[in-house]
Amino acid sequence: MLAWTIYISFFGAAILLLLPKRAASLARCLALLAATSACGIALAAFLRHRTGELFTIVDKPWIASLGIRYHLAADGISLSLVLLTGIVAIAGVLFSWDIDDRTNQFFAFYLLLIGAVYGVFLSYDLFLLFVFYEIVIIPKYFLIANWGSTRREYGAMKLAIYSIVGSAMVLVGLIAAYVAAGSSSMALDKLAGFPFSAHFQMVAFPVVFVGFAILAGLWPFHTWAPTGHVAAPTAASMLLAGVVMKLGAYGCLRVAMTLFPLGLGPWSHPVLGIHSWREVFAALAVIGILYGALVALVQRDFKFVIGYSSVSHMGFILLGLMTLNLMGLSGAIIQMISHGLIGGLLFAVVGRMVYARTHTRELAALGPMNLSSALPFAAVTFVVAGMAGMGLPGFSGFVAELMIVIGAWRAFPVLALAVGFGILIGIVYVWWAMQKAFFAERGHELPPPDPLQPITIPEKIAAALLIASSVAVGLYPQMVLNIIQPALHSLLFAGLRRGGWQ
């Protein structure tokens, strides 16, 4: 049943391409219908499979000569991420309600992207996963290059090239693993269970991990993210920062760490005081947290602030993955969900609520407009989203950061202190950006020449949806942890547990 999330999205994309160009409202409704039904299926599956154990959705032979099967399966981790995709997809469609230019093509690419993302999360055969992972690149490119804003062609191309470089690295690792395991199967459990030599894993792990981590915004391969997200139209930014970056993190966990757990182990001799790839990536993750936060602090363009904050938040996820304990890994997955919701909402506020109306993103220009009284809903939404993003308790971000810091305390105490510092800077830049953008200094008010349009109903619904989801996860994370933790205890991660688990 879950496979229908993919099929509905692709089918919807195909139908939308066939629509005439002028049927914009029909296109919107179709897109919303597709997104909502896919989300509904995801929700139903989420509620039905309470145990979080792995279950197969579809398993058919595909390219039998190579042992490749069309094998979809889901466990707790996939289910939560699929649900996240569904929610963000609906919100994205609602926030793009005002797109007028080639509406049907926009939503066609959008649904194609969503369908491929569902495919990655649900794939159990690694070839299939890679196919879906690559399919994501082309709609991304066209969405940004056609409907984007600042330097869109450059941003789109940069994003596409970085993505394909990452995919190339992943492909090298996958092919090497497949061949080394006897070219018999690409199924995740078979490859995970195969005893690759320690030397092989020590080389393959960083290649595949970095390949996926490029898409996840690992410092210093993150530079495509701010450019690309700023260039993208709002709905695309929401999806890209909210969901597609999580594809990279998911790949790190599901593929790199599952297949090559020994790659996380200690090296034979330390290099510059570093003892393993695990320490390398943990350090890079923390640098990413701090760097993203510090650079966000000095940005003048509102959207760039959010773009760099995404890099910072993704650093939390990668750090959580490297802690290799249940707390940190669970926290990383919750942060994936949380940042998917909150990052999406932040981009929506900046792009759709503010920029589409004021046509400027310069903080210095926005301040005097005193948007807190002109667009109170946008101001409140941004405050709530910003607080959630900076880890205010009561929202999902706090639970995630809590668990990641706990995990980091156990694994890398010094880095945990740096993380605390990063959280602080995160608070500062969110607060600073919010103040500069929405509140005017006394006596420096300069209302915009034309009255700003009020926030429309679709925007309000979408914002409420995202906030409610974040609050739900923040106040009752157990509903997600219930299915994630059994999944982390499953056989797939046995190698990881033998390797470096604490």
Binding site: P393, G394, I427
Partner: protein, 513 residues
């Protein structure tokens, strides 16, 4: 299932805020009336709780306990003992005073009062929560309404003041969070009562549990203590972490300041008493001397600073720091090795803290209420030099404000006295040198308060203040119960102490090791 009284009490202000937000923005009279009524309703419910409280037992009452996030050992656990009860009560009293002080708020008044109620809900939440996760949510959430109240309705420099307030508190919160996460990692629990019950040996065990072999366990315990200490020290505040306060208190509208000084600062004191002292008693014992010096500095330096101020709000901002410094002095003095002879002194000190907290809340809030009236009548000025000789033209005003000011000074017969008396009675035998130096604070406080009285009420009348209406009858009726309360508590503190005795005994016993 018993009625979840504490959850209901916490949700009442939220419901009040919702009601206010649903009102149309345009009406300016209706929101304040409804707000006042609702706040009195909440006060009544709190008094109901007081009545239902079992005075004979020092154990936790009205406990609600449910599983929440088993994966993180987070429970939904609420309960109060006498300490929590008094905090709830003072919050419930301060909020109506704050609302009354904000009677003239014109723009977006329904949003204003809604934010006030949200703040009250957050404070109720922190005073009743017994699990760190849950408590921390409310601790952080309370900053948001406070920030916006200062920012949107404050004075000219409200922006930087609010930001400074937020950032300072956040820094403390983050260090507190980090420490608690380390503690959780080592002990596996977030529950305050469980952590307190572990005794003095668990903190050195933290290092071992975390697997950090090359860290001195004692040092680690001190570092963790410092993290949590910082969080609360910023909130009370203690000198030298206080620099956010004068700006925030003076830029905020007076009604908000009333609530900030009356209730929000008590969140810090509550944190010291509920969390820091029981869990980190050995560390406090080890660091007792420096901590006492910090409280002395808080008491004395803030009094001197108040003396030097010209702005009424700033004077009482510093005075606020001063009054709470006594509480901290007593708190640090409490932590002693078991010496049965000193037990009554410890009881006295703790009882003093509880009384001082309540009385300062009432008194400080009332003073800021008066200041708001002064501002309204004098078109916004509040410098000492702007007033003078008000006694002649507004005698009732001068009289009632005088009572409040004397109470703040600690005049016997008014509610300020019993608390300070008990604190000094308790701390003199425990830490004689510290108590002696702190008396200086009492003296300076007397000096500046008398100075205020002299400059504002006596002396020549300023020409601009020639038209200074006295209290209206409505205002007189509002002030009456508060002033009466001051007398009642001053003359018969047993009213409050009687309910708290059992709590005091069990608390002090728990601290002894």
């Amino acid at each position: 299932m018993t009625f979840p009284a504490l959850t209901a009490l916490t949700l009442l202000p939220v419901a009040a805020a919702a009601v206010l937000l649903l009102l149309p923005q345009s009406s300016s009279k209706l929101p304040r009336v409804i707000a006042a009524a609702l706040s009195l309703l909440i006060l009544a419910c709190t008094l109901l709780l007081w009545v239902r409280f079992d005075h004979t037992s020092g154990a936790l009452q009205f406990q609600e306990r449910h599983a929440w996030i088993p994966a993180l050992h987070v429970e939904y656990r609420l309960a109060i003992d006498g300490l929590g009860l008094i905090m709830l009560l003072l919050t419930a009293i301060v909020v109506p005073i704050g609302i009354a002080a904000s009677w003239r708020t014109k723009k977006r008044s329904s949003l204003y009062f809604a934010l006030v109620f949200l703040l009250q809900a957050c404070m109720f939440g922190t005073f009743t929560a017994l699990n760190f996760f849950h408590w921390f949510i409310f601790w952080e959430l309370s900053l948001i309404p406070a920030f916006f109240l200062i920012r949107l309705w404050g004075g000219k420099l409200a922006g930087p003041a609010a930001t400074q307030f937020l950032v300072y508190t956040m820094v403390g919160s983050v260090t507190m969070l980090l420490s608690f996460l380390a503690i959780y990692l080592a002990t596996g629990t977030f529950d305050f009562i469980e952590l307190a019950g572990r005794g003095d040996s668990f903190l050195p065990g933290v290092a071992a549990n975390l697997g950090w072999q090359h860290v001195n366990p004692q040092h680690l315990a001190l570092v963790l203590f410092a993290g949590v200490f910082l969080g609360f020290a910023v909130k009370v505040p203690l000198i030298p972490f206080h620099t956010w306060l004068p700006a925030a208190y003076s830029e905020a509208p007076s009604g908000v300041t009333a609530i900030l000084t009356g209730a929000m600062s008590k969140m810090g004191v509550y944190g010291f008493l509920r969390i820091l002292l029981p869990i980190f008693a050995p560390q406090i014992h080890k660091l007792q001397t420096p901590l006492l010096w910090i409280s002395i500095a808080t008491i004395v330096l803030s009094a001197f600073a108040a003396l030097a101020q010209k702005d009424l709000k700033r004077i009482f901002a510093y005075s606020s720091i001063n009054h709470l410094g006594y509480c901290l002095l007593a708190a640090f003095a409490l932590v002693r090795t078991s010496d049965a002879a000193l037990l009554p002194e410890q009881y006295a000190a703790f009882s003093g803290i509880l009384l001082q907290v309540l009385s300062h809340a009432i008194t400080a809030a009332t003073i800021f209420w008066f200041i708001s009236l002064l501002e309204n009548r004098s078109a916004g000025t509040r410098l000492l030099t702007d007033f003078g000789g008000l006694r002649r033209i507004a005698p009732v005003f001068a009289g009632l404000m005088g009572i409040a000011l004397f109470s703040s000074l600690g005049l016997p017969g008014l509610n300020g006295f019993p608390g300070e008396f008990l604190i000094f009675k308790g701390t003199f035998p425990l830490v004689p040198w510290a108590a002696s130096i702190s008396v200086l604070g009492l003296l300076i406080t007397a000096v500046f308060i008398l100075g205020v009285i002299q400059k504002v009420f006596t002396g020549p009348l300023q020409p601009e203040r020639a038209v200074f209406p006295d209290l209206t009858s409505g205002e007189r009726v509002s002030f009456a119960p508060v002033v009466a309360l001051m007398f009642v508590l001053g003359l018969y503190p047993q009213l409050v102490l009687g309910a708290l005795n059992s709590t005091v005994i069990s608390y002090v016993h728990q601290l002894r090791f």
